[in-house]
């Protein structure tokens, strides 16, 4: 989706502006010569106030943040439309100056207005996380250790039991961590620890630990086995219904038992697999899964840990998609469907809370008087839903009456939970606070920015002790770092890259299987994993250097991908593979993106070019004046793709954008429609040269994708675009709502700190605690 052209994308040259304003004295725009030019040449389409004439609904308001020079340059080259020669040189300078100061610039717009954060509701992601995590704050979660030995803990029992019901038999036990559960025991016993021997016949295992769910969605579990098995995912109570109950093995043949669970991404869930062999000839067991966006595989060690985790509340309710008209997800619309879904989720959560009331309430008080304990819990639940302590009188209004009017204390609790989760104080974070700068408001802002969720117990303690004071910014920074290590922060950051790099397009990719027989769902799944591993590797390194995203010369390949992308020596699962000079340059030459932005039977320099222009290089694009479909058969057959595209976009109207799009798209022509390097197209050598001319007056020679990568890695425009998009994803509000200089400060900090993405995020989380306050 193309962004409207007035969305700010160029860095405001703040210093230059101030200087310019200063030198013009008290900005005398009424008598400025530029105004006369404007009225002669521009008013017909743009109207006197720059908002666009009624006769020309396609003309956007003249608002943006190109700096003065860029604006003048744009006017000179492209305005008036089809008669650009009428306004060049000094005329362009004059009218540019007038337009800039009269209505175009931020300052012009802000002259009478203060921009503050919008009142928005929780996005869908935020709602799911908040309800689940709010309940989890009453459970003993603990902080998962880093660098855990991956794998699940197996408790093995061997015995010589001849019949059940007879408890008089020998047992041998041992434990160990198994990286995966994939064993074929044949007729024998499981492998024994060093030094242990056994002549037992029967055995049973109880594997316990936690499973990390990377994405939100349905997880399909399969156990392949000859024997009796049970699986519990996100169930810590052994009396609960198992996720898979395959206890009865009808014969000793290999069979598959399956079960499905819906899980939220970025979290660990308790997992328990039990298996037993009793007087059967053979034994084997394989624990497999198919995660959302993934293929069926044995559950890998990297998602397993032997540490336990508490159960958490998960709702499968579908929520209507959030509004994305601003270019990022925001909670700016409500509908009946949404209200019903929120209400249903609240009922589900209330049932869950009542079911586990005894366990959850003990986190508040261990009072033996259950009635009293549940009431205290209900009040605390409401406070945590509001993200602040209850004010005097609130308990009497919001909590106690529900107990008075109920038959049982559990019924009262249910109603309190329902009320808390359907209240606007919960659904519209920010409305619960008297001031956005108070400690609880700040804690809430940090939790939403870092995790898209509610404050955890540590953060609430920080707020209650009012440690958010200005005199110790280091403390705030340390807090933000601590929060970033939480797996929910990982999940949110991954979400940014998903949006930025349009990873969800993967489901729509289809290729001509005759031309690309290697193409398959597994290949696309692998490519997506490869890109995610690449991003993770850069982002979670110590330097977390943004430039490495664009410049790094390596790919993560597994055996299947190694064969396709010229590295047949790669065996087994994913490894980091270095590539010869500049064969690959970070994300822009990653085969996933190259495949995704291509036709089913050919490359697409336009799609690739648009993606690079908007997302990576950070230039703005209007929608095309005419929508033209690419039809291959309209061209003489011997033309290369580059030649076809050049011809299609040669009209002047097209060139205002395609002068940028095309050189960027052509720079990738060496990579075919599934991202493989090729030297020729139709027996003619590939031409990936070009010249990129930006509005700022830069002229960049492109001799291949490396040049594009370097430009994107180093240009201020690209940095600004990256920062803006990341800020929107993190805070879900316009940058200006956090102060007119926030954007600039973030950019400076970014450049002074090695372009560290993670440090940039820390700064954003901290900035989120300082919104502009409306003046009453």
């Amino acid at each position: 989706m193309v962004m409207p052209s007035f969305v700010p994308i160029f860095r405001t040259a703040a210093a230059a502006l101030l200087f310019a304003v200063g030198s013009a004295g008290a900005l005398d725009l009424q008598n400025h010569p530029g105004k006369a030019i404007y009225q002669k040449l521009c008013t017909e389409c743009h109207a006197d106030d720059g908002m666009g004439a009624a006769d020309f609904p396609d003309v956007d308001p003249l608002i943006g943040t190109r700096d003065l020079q860029e604006l003048i340059g744009k006017i000179e080259r492209t305005m008036p439309e089809d008669e650009e020669h009428l306004c060049v040189g000094d005329d362009a300078k004059m009218v540019g100056y007038y337009v800039y100061h009269a209505f175009y610039s931020q300052e012009a717009q802000n002259r009478d207005k203060i921009i503050t954060p919008d009142v928005t509701r929780l996005t869908n992601e935020q709602l799911r996380n908040s309800v689940s995590d709010l309940i989890s704050t009453f459970r003993n979660a603990g902080f998962p250790p880093k660098n855990d030995e991956p794998g699940i803990k197996g408790h093995y029992t061997l015995d010589d039991r001849e019949r059940a019901g007879n408890n008089d038999f020998e047992r041998q036990k041992f434990e160990r961590i198994d990286p995966q559960i994939a064993f074929d025991y044949g007729e024998g016993l499981p492998g024994l620890p060093e030094g242990m021997t056994s002549d037992m016949k029967q055995f049973s295992m109880d594997w316990r630990g936690s499973l990390y769910a990377r994405d939100t969605g349905v997880y399909e579990f399969t156990i392949r086995t000859r024997n009796g098995v049970r699986l519990f995912i996100n169930e810590n109570n052994h009396n609960d219904v198992p996720t898979i109950d395959g206890w009865v093995a009808p014969d000793n043949e290999i069979r598959e038992v399956k079960g499905q669970v819906f899980l939220y991404g970025g979290r660990r869930y308790p997992v328990r697999l039990e298996m037993f062999k009793y007087k059967e000839k053979l034994a084997m067991v394989e624990f497999r899964w198919k995660p959302p966006h993934g293929a069926d595989e044995i559950v890998p060690d990297r998602v397993l840990t032997h540490h336990s985790s508490p159960e958490s509340f998960v709702s499968e309710i579908t929520l209507p998609a959030d509004d994305r008209s601003y270019g990022y997800e925001r909670g700016t619309t409500v509908s009946r469907v949404w209200l019903d879904a929120v209400t249903t989720m609240a009922f589900e959560a209330a049932d869950h809370v009542v079911e586990y009331a005894d366990e959850l309430s003990k986190a508040v008080t261990k009072d033996e008087n259950r009635d009293k304990r549940i009431r205290e819990f209900a009040a605390e639940f409401t406070a945590r839903a509001y993200r602040r302590p209850l004010k005097p009188g609130e308990r009497e209004s919001y909590v106690d009456p529900h107990f008075a009017g109920s038959e049982s204390v559990d019924d009262g609790l249910r109603k309190v939970v329902l009320r808390a989760l359907t209240s606007p104080y919960f659904l519209y974070p920010g409305t619960a606070f008297d001031s956005p700068h108070g400690p609880w408001a700040k804690a809430s802002a940090m939790a939403l920015a870092s995790w898209d969720s509610v404050p955890d117990n540590h953060l609430r303690k920080f707020a209650s002790e009012n440690k958010f004071d200005h005199h110790n910014p280091k403390r705030l920074e340390d807090l933000a770092w601590r929060m970033q290590w939480d797996s929910r922060a990982h999940y949110k950051i991954r979400g940014f890259f998903h949006h930025w790099l349009e990873l969800d397009k993967a489901t729509e990719i289809a290729k001509d299987t005759e031309l690309y027989p290697e193409f398959s769902d597994e290949m696309i799944g692998d490519l997506r994993t490869s890109l995610e591993l690449f991003i993770d590797d850069v982002v979670w390194s110590d330097q977390s250097d943004y430039r490495q995203l664009l410049l790094a010369n390596h790919l993560f390949l597994n055996e299947r991908l190694g064969k396709i992308y010229g590295k047949p020596e790669v065996k087994g699962s994913f490894q980091k593979v270095s590539l010869p000079d500049n064969a690959r340059n970070g994300i822009i030459t990653h085969p996933f993106l190259l495949t995704s932005f291509a036709y089913h039977n050919n490359t697409s320099p336009i799609h690739r070019g648009v993606f690079l222009t908007r997302n990576i290089v950070g230039l703005s694009l209007k929608p095309p004046p005419e929508a033209i479909e690419f039809e291959d058969n309209h061209f003489p057959p011997n033309l290369t793709m580059r030649e076809k595209v050049t011809e299609m976009t040669s009209a002047k109207a097209c060139m205002s954008c395609h002068s940028m799009i095309n050189p960027l798209g052509f720079s990738l022509e060496h990579y075919d429609a599934i991202g493989r390097w090729r030297e020729e197209e139709m027996n003619r050598p590939i031409n990936d040269d070009g010249i990129l001319e930006t509005d700022a007056g830069d002229r960049i020679e492109i001799k291949g994708p490396r040049d594009v990568a370097e430009y994107a890695a180093n240009s201020p425009a690209a940095h600004e675009a990256f920062i803006r998009q990341l800020f929107h994803h993190t805070v879900k509000q316009p940058l200006l709502a956090y102060g007119p200089e926030t954007s600039q400060k973030l950019e400076e900090s970014f450049r002074h700190n090695g372009h560290s993405i993670r440090y940039l995020l820390i700064k954003m989380v901290m900035a989120a605690t300082e919104p502009v306050i409306p003046q009453s």
């Binding site: 919008d118 009142v119 928005t120 509701r121 019949r163 059940a164 019901g165 024997n227 009796g228 009396n239 609960d240 219904v241 198992p242 109950d245 206890w247 009865v248 093995a249 009808p250 014969d251 037993f276 062999k277 009793y278 007087k279 059967e280 000839k281 700016t332 619309t333 409500v334 509908s335 009946r336 209200l339 209400t343 249903t344 609240a346 009922f347 049932d351 009542v354 079911e355 919001y398 529900h402 559990d410 249910r414 109603k415 329902l418 009320r419 359907t422 209240s423 606007p424 104080y425 659904l427 519209y428 409305t431 409306p774």
Partner: protein, 467 residues
């Protein structure tokens, strides 16, 4: 009265609470009530299971015949004695793999052997699932195959206090070999299955008021342009409130109705209440013609329930293994079985009191209920003389009720299932393992109470050699 109101009133009489009603209208099955199936009398069968055998001397009447006396265990059913047939001499003769409890449970409705498998009971060879379909599913399939008897669900499996484990002790119903059907013992889940997701109106109404209050408070502190979203939210909430209000008007016409609280917690001490709720839901589902076959499973075979609502602290199964001379244990077991009989009596009463929709008489006239157990007696694990009790359904089946019948010793229970199937219109000659069907259906339509000896009891199969 209009169609909608009539439907609602009818449902209330069946014990579906007012709170649940707004969401019922328009659901499939519900509309059929008044335009009832006019294709002759309906036939229904309900099978109720309770575990661990009975106490023979407190259960079996003294003499075969029409004027038998209900002993202690059957006392709760005394008001329905004239509609009841107590069957003695019918045994579960199925041999093969599995211990008596497993065979008692999983061969009971299937009449065929268990597969060899990996589940070891207290004795005998390890076993897997049953190797054939159960009679309730057999009849279900028959009903579903014909337009006139087809229903939305075909069959419904209700449970009370059934553990969340799938094994041959917890499953009596099978859709086929190796295909156990799990009962639903959570009234909320059952309610959702029958009527879709429902939220109680009372809670929704209170939410609406609170949300309005909150929005007012918040909006008063916001600038005008910032109120837009919250105003929209408020409007949607008002819409919801209007919908709820328009339904509550017709509720004023309600007759008093039983209380169903489907949110009930599934803990031991709530078992008696859950039992009644499940029975209410069962009757309700039959009345709405959502199904014509139902099973009601109490606990499981080897059930170890601690029935403290009867003042009994020990587990049921443990008690059932006390020797005959332990008078205290016998007393407790008698009380336990009396309780099961009382639950059965409640089911019978509900059906008896409910008019058959669109026809004369009560639902009980058309519904055959079979009460059974996995064992004849707990401490011997005997599968002989399973305490079968048939109640109701005379119009549908033609069975003569109001008698105590003594079948020849060890009459195979397969033959009872053949009788039941035939009485439902399904003309099969054998059911389950054929060798146990010699002699064909049991004669339950004539007046006799002590038939001539049947053919010799067939030899049970030997346990298969595994490996």
């Amino acid at each position: 009265m209009n169609d909608l109101t009539a439907r609602r009133q009818f449902l209330k009489q069946l014990g579906v609470s007012a709170g649940a009603i707004p969401f019922l209208s328009g659901l499939p099955g519900v509309g059929n009530l008044l335009a009832a199936n006019q294709a002759g009398p309906k036939k229904r069968v309900v099978i109720m299971f309770s575990p661990n055998g009975t106490i023979p001397k407190e259960f079996w009447p003294d003499q075969a015949g029409k004027d038998f006396t209900c002993k202690r265990i059957l006392q709760p059913l005394e008001p329905y004695r004239h509609r009841m047939t107590v069957l003695n001499g019918v045994s579960n003769n199925i041999g093969g793999d599995g211990d008596r409890h497993m065979r008692g449970m999983s061969c009971l409705l299937t009449g065929t052997e268990l597969f060899p498998g990996n589940i070891q009971g207290g004795s005998d060879s390890p076993a897997g699932w049953a190797s054939g379909i159960s009679i309730d599913q057999e009849i279900r399939n028959f009903f579903q195959s014909q337009e006139a008897t087809k229903t939305r669900f075909g069959s419904l499996e209700f449970g009370v206090a059934v553990p969340n484990r799938a094994d041959p002790w917890t499953r009596m119903s099978y859709a086929g070999p190796n295909k156990p059907v799990a009962p639903i013992d959570d009234p909320k889940r059952m309610m959702e299955r029958l009527y879709g997701k429902m939220e109680d109106k009372e809670s929704l109404v209170s939410i609406v008021d609170d949300v309005r209050e909150d929005i007012k408070k918040i909006s008063s502190k916001l600038a005008t342009e910032d109120r837009v979203l919250l105003d929209q939210h408020l409007q949607l909430v008002s819409e919801l409130e209007k919908e709820l209000a328009s339904q509550s008007e017709s509720d004023e016409l309600a007759h008093p109705m039983p209380d169903i609280d489907p949110k009930i917690e599934l803990v031991n001490e709530n078992t008696p209440r859950i039992s009644r709720i499940q029975i209410d839901l069962l009757v309700n589902s039959l009345a709405n013609d959502m199904s014509r076959v139902a099973t009601l499973q109490y606990m499981r075979s080897v059930g170890q329930a601690r029935m403290n609502w009867l003042g009994i602290e020990e587990g049921h199964h443990g008690l059932s293994h006390e020797p005959d001379n332990n008078a205290e244990a016998e007393e407790k077991l008698t009380k336990i079985n009396e309780w099961f009989a009382a639950e059965l009596a409640y089911l019978v009463k509900r059906l008896d009191e409910t008019p058959e929709p669109g026809q004369d008489g009560s639902m009980l006239d058309n519904t055959l209920i079979v009460w059974l157990n996995e064992l004849g007696k707990g401490n011997t694990h005997t599968l002989e003389n399973i305490p079968f009790v048939l109640i109701g359904g005379e119009k549908a089946t033609g069975f003569k009720m109001g008698r105590y019948v003594q079948m020849p010793k060890n009459t195979s229970h397969n033959r009872l299932w053949v009788s039941v199937a035939q009485s439902m219109g399904h003309q099969i000659e054998t059911f389950g393992n054929q060798i146990y069907c010699q002699g064909g259906a049991l004669d339950l339509v004539s007046e006799m109470t002590a038939p001539n000896p049947a053919p010799a009891k067939p030899k049970p199969a030997q346990p298969k050699q595994t490996g």
